[in-house]
Symmetry: C2
Subunit: 437 residues, 2 copies
C-alpha cells in the first residue's frame, strides 16, 4: 500500500518523541495504520543543534513553510506551538491539500474558526488530540465514544504544572514560590510559568472541550479565569482541614440551556475522584445524559504521552478515520451552540480567607456585609495559627478568618467583595475560592 | 442522505434504552451520524409483553432471524445475549451483507474467531463497545486512541455486581449472603448471580481486552479465575486494616514477552485509584509504552450506560468509521500474538487467612511449610477477634491467623497449599488472595 508521508514541523520535546517512534518502531506503525508511515521531511529552527533522535540530515530543513507545502508530504505535523508561524504553516498545508495534525491549543483557541473552515473548504482535516490533556484521549472520547450522548457537564484538571505545584505545597508544607522553583528544576514548569499558573493554559483547553461537547465557540475572556499564583499555603491547609482539596478546575456545565463556565482554584471534597489526582496528572470528569458520570485520567503533558496522542491522530489520518470524524464534529459549527451563562448568575458555595485585625466587632462587620447581600454562612472559623504573631504596619495583630458560605450567586459575592475591600479591618490580599459540589 | 436502517434484536433493558434514544432524539442521531438513523425492525421474544418504550406495532416481530436477514435493514443490533440464537443472528446478518453491533461478551469470547473471520470474509464489521465495561469506551481507546502504543498492562474492575457486593460488605459490615440479597433487590444482581460473582463475566471481558491490546486469543480456561463468592467479611476487614481494599481484579500484563493473566479477588493498596472504585462502577487501568499509566472509570452496566456504547457503535457504522477500525484491529488475528505465562510462574505477594486451632505449635507448623517452599513472610498476625469464641466440633477454640508474604511464585504457593490442606490444625475453608503492587 502507498505509505503515508509525514512532514514534521518542530523537533522539540514532543516532535522528537514522535520522530523516535516513527523511526524506531516502523513495523508497529505499519501494522496499526495499515500502511507504512514515513517521515519524509522535518523542519527545525536551528539546523546545527544536537538532538536525541537520529535522522538522516537530508530530511532536515529550517524552512517550515517549505515542508508544509512539499509535494512528497501527505500530512503535516505542526508541533512548533504559538501563533506564528504556526498559523501560516497550517494554512499552507491545507491549501496544498494536506491533512494537519497539531498539538497547538493556543492557535486553535485563537484561530480555530478560520482554520477549521479552511479545512472544510479544501476537504482536508485538522486532528488535535494532543492539544488537550496530553495522552488522555478526550477528543476521541467526546467526538466518537460519547456521540450518542448530550454531554451535560465537564469538570477537569487540565494543567499538570499547577496540579504538581498544589500537590507539593500541601504535601511538603512549601510556599508557592518554593514549589514553583521545584517544578522548574524537575522540568514540570517552564522558565516563565505564567501561562500555566495564571490559568490561561487550562482556560484555552476548556474552550476546545466546550466546542467539542457543546458546539459553542467561546474564548477565555467569556468566563471567570483565575490561576493558582494568588494562593497561599495556608488556604490549602485550611481547605484540607475542612475536608477539601484545592485544584485548578476547569468547568463547563449545561444548566437550564446555558453553559456555566469557569477556570479557577476550587475546593473539591476529598472523596471525589478529582480531589485524588496528585502531581503532574490530569483528569477529565464528564457527564453524559446516557452514559452518566465518567472519569479519564493520565499524564497531561510530557514527551511520550503527548507523542502518543499525535501518533493516534496520524494513524487515524492514515486509515481515513480522522477525515470522517472531522466532518462530523461540532467544531466551530454553531448549529447546536449553547450560550454562556453570565458570570453573575453562577450559583455555588464559596470559601473566604480574610487576614483581619484581631479586635472587637471584626467578625460582625464582615458577616454583616455578607448577610446584607443575602449570603448565608455555613461555617466561620477564626484560626489562631499560623498568622497570630503577624502584625501589620499599624502594629495590630492579624489573624485569619475562614468562612464557608452556603450557595450564593456570584453577582452577590462580587457586590459584597466591593464592600469588604473598603473595610479597614480586612487586610489585602484576601482570598475567595468557589466550591465544587 | 440515505438513512441508516437499524434492525434491533432484543428489547430487554439495553435494547429498550437504545430504542428510546433512536425514537426520542432522532435529530441528535442525525446530526452526529451525518444521516438519519431509523429503527425499521424490532425482534422481541414475547409480542404481548408491555414495554416502557412506545414503538409502532408493525415494527415488531418475534422472529429474530427474519430481522437479521431483512432487506430493509443495514445494521443489526444483537442485544439478546447468550449463545443461541445470538450466533445464528450474527451469522445471518453478516451473510446478508449487514454490519453487526453487539453487547454479547459471552458470544464473542466463545465464538469470536469464527464470527470475526466471517465478517472479514464478507467485508462487513462487528462492533462491540458495549460488550466490555458498559459505558466506558475501552474498545475505542484500545483500538484507536492508544494505537501508537504497545500496551504493557491492563488491570481492571469489570464486574459492577461484584464491586457493589464487596463495597456493601465492608462499608455496612454485612455478610456476603446479605450483600448479594441487597444487590438483587436494587437490581444490581440477577436472580442467579453466578456468572457475576464467580468471576466468569470478568474473565470473559478480560479475554476480549487481551485480544484488543495484545492480539492474543485466549479463553478463560487459560488463566486462574476465582470469584468473590468464597470471601468472608473478615477478609475484607483484615485487608482494610493492613491498608488494602479487596477488588475482583482482572489482569493482563506483558512481562518478558509473555502475558501474566488472572481474574481474582485481589488486595490493592488504598492509595491506588483502583482501590477507590466503590459501588457498581468499573475501572480500567492501562499502561502504554508511550502514554504511560491511564485510568478510565464509569458505570460498567445498566440500561443507559450500555445503550450509550451501542449508540456510539451505531454512529461509527453510519459514518463508515466502524468498518475502517474493524479492519485494523488485532482481533483474532495472530500476527502479533503474545503467549500466556503458565500460572505457576506468576510472581507476586499473597494474603492468607487460616482458621486455626488455638494451641501450641500451630504457627510454627504453618510458617514451617511456607518456609520449606521458600515463601518468605512479610507479616504474621494472629487476631483474637471476631472468631475467638468459635469452637469446632472437637471443642477446640478456632482463631484466625493472617499472613502476608513477600513475592513468591504461584507454583510454590500451590505446592505449599497442598501440604497446608493436610495440617490437622488448619480448618477449611481457608483463604488465599494475591496482592497487586
Amino acid at each position: 500500500m502507498q505509505p503515508l508521508r509525514v512532514g514534521l514541523i518542530g523537533l522539540g520535546t514532543v516532535g522528537s518523541g514522535v520522530a523516535k517512534v516513527l523511526t524506531e518502531s516502523p513495523q508497529r506503525m505499519t501494522h496499526r495504520a495499515g500502511r507504512p508511515v514515513e517521515l519524509t521531511r522535518v523542519a527545525v529552527r536551528d539546523l546545527k543543534k544536537r538532538r536525541d533522535v537520529k535522522l538522516p540530515s537530508d530530511l532536515l530543513t529550517d524552512d517550515p513553510l517549505a515542508v508544509a507545502g512539499a509535494s512528497d508530504v501527505d500530512v503535516v505535523l505542526e508541533l512548533i506551538g504559538g501563533q506564528s508561524p504556526a498559523k501560516e504553516v497550517v494554512l499552507t498545508a491545507l491549501e496544498a491539500g494536506k491533512d494537519v495534525v497539531t498539538a497547538n491549543k493556543a492557535l486553535l483557541c485563537a484561530e480555530g474558526a478560520g482554520l477549521f473552515s479552511k479545512a472544510r473548504e479544501v476537504g482536508r482535516c485538522i486532528a488535535f488530540e494532543a492539544a488537550i490533556a496530553g495522552g488522555i484521549p478526550i477528543v476521541h472520547v467526546l467526538g466518537q465514544a460519547m456521540a450518542g450522548n448530550q454531554v451535560t457537564a465537564i469538570e477537569a484538571i487540565l494543567n499538570g504544572t499547577s496540579n504538581f505545584i498544589l500537590t507539593e505545597m500541601l504535601q511538603r508544607g512549601e510556599s508557592y514560590d518554593s514549589a514553583v522553583r521545584e517544578a522548574q528544576e524537575l522540568g514540570y514548569a517552564e522558565a516563565d510559568p505564567a501561562m500555566d499558573v495564571d490559568g490561561t493554559d487550562a482556560a484555552q483547553k476548556l474552550c476546545l472541550l466546550t466546542q467539542l461537547a457543546f458546539g459553542t465557540r467561546v474564548t477565555p475572556e467569556a468566563f471567570p479565569q483565575q490561576g493558582i499564583d494568588t494562593l497561599d499555603l495556608a488556604d490549602l491547609q485550611y481547605a484540607n482541614e475542612l475536608g477539601y482539596a484545592v485544584k485548578l478546575l476547569a468547568t463547563a456545565k449545561l444548566i437550564d440551556g446555558k453553559l456555566e463556565m469557569h477556570t479557577q482554584p476550587t475546593l473539591i471534597r476529598h472523596n471525589r475522584p478529582l480531589a485524588q489526582v496528585d502531581g503532574a496528572y490530569n483528569m477529565v470528569a464528564l457527564t453524559g445524559d446516557a452514559v452518566g458520570p465518567m472519569w479519564l485520567s493520565g499524564q497531561g503533558a510530557g514527551q511520550m504521552p503527548t507523542a502518543s496522542a499525535v501518533l493516534s491522530d496520524l494513524i487515524d489520518v492514515a486509515i481515513g478515520r480522522a477525515q470522517s470524524t472531522f466532518n462530523r464534529l461540532d467544531l466551530w459549527d454553531e448549529r447546536t451552540a449553547v450560550p454562556v451563562q453570565p458570570a453573575e448568575d453562577i450559583y455555588r458555595r464559596y470559601y473566604f480567607r480574610f487576614p483581619v485585625e484581631d479586635r472587637p466587632h471584626v467578625i460582625a462587620d464582615i458577616t454583616g456585609i455578607l448577610g446584607n447581600h443575602s449570603i448565608s454562612l455555613a461555617s466561620v472559623i477564626q484560626h489562631e495559627a499560623p498568622e497570630v504573631d503577624d502584625t501589620d504596619t499599624s502594629g495590630a495583630p492579624i489573624v485569619p478568618l475562614v468562612i464557608m458560605t452556603h450557595r450564593s450567586h456570584e453577582g452577590k459575592i462580587r457586590a459584597a467583595s466591593d464592600e469588604l475591600n473598603k473595610l479597614a479591618c480586612v487586610r489585602q490580599p484576601w482570598v475567595c475560592m468557589p466550591v465544587s459540589d
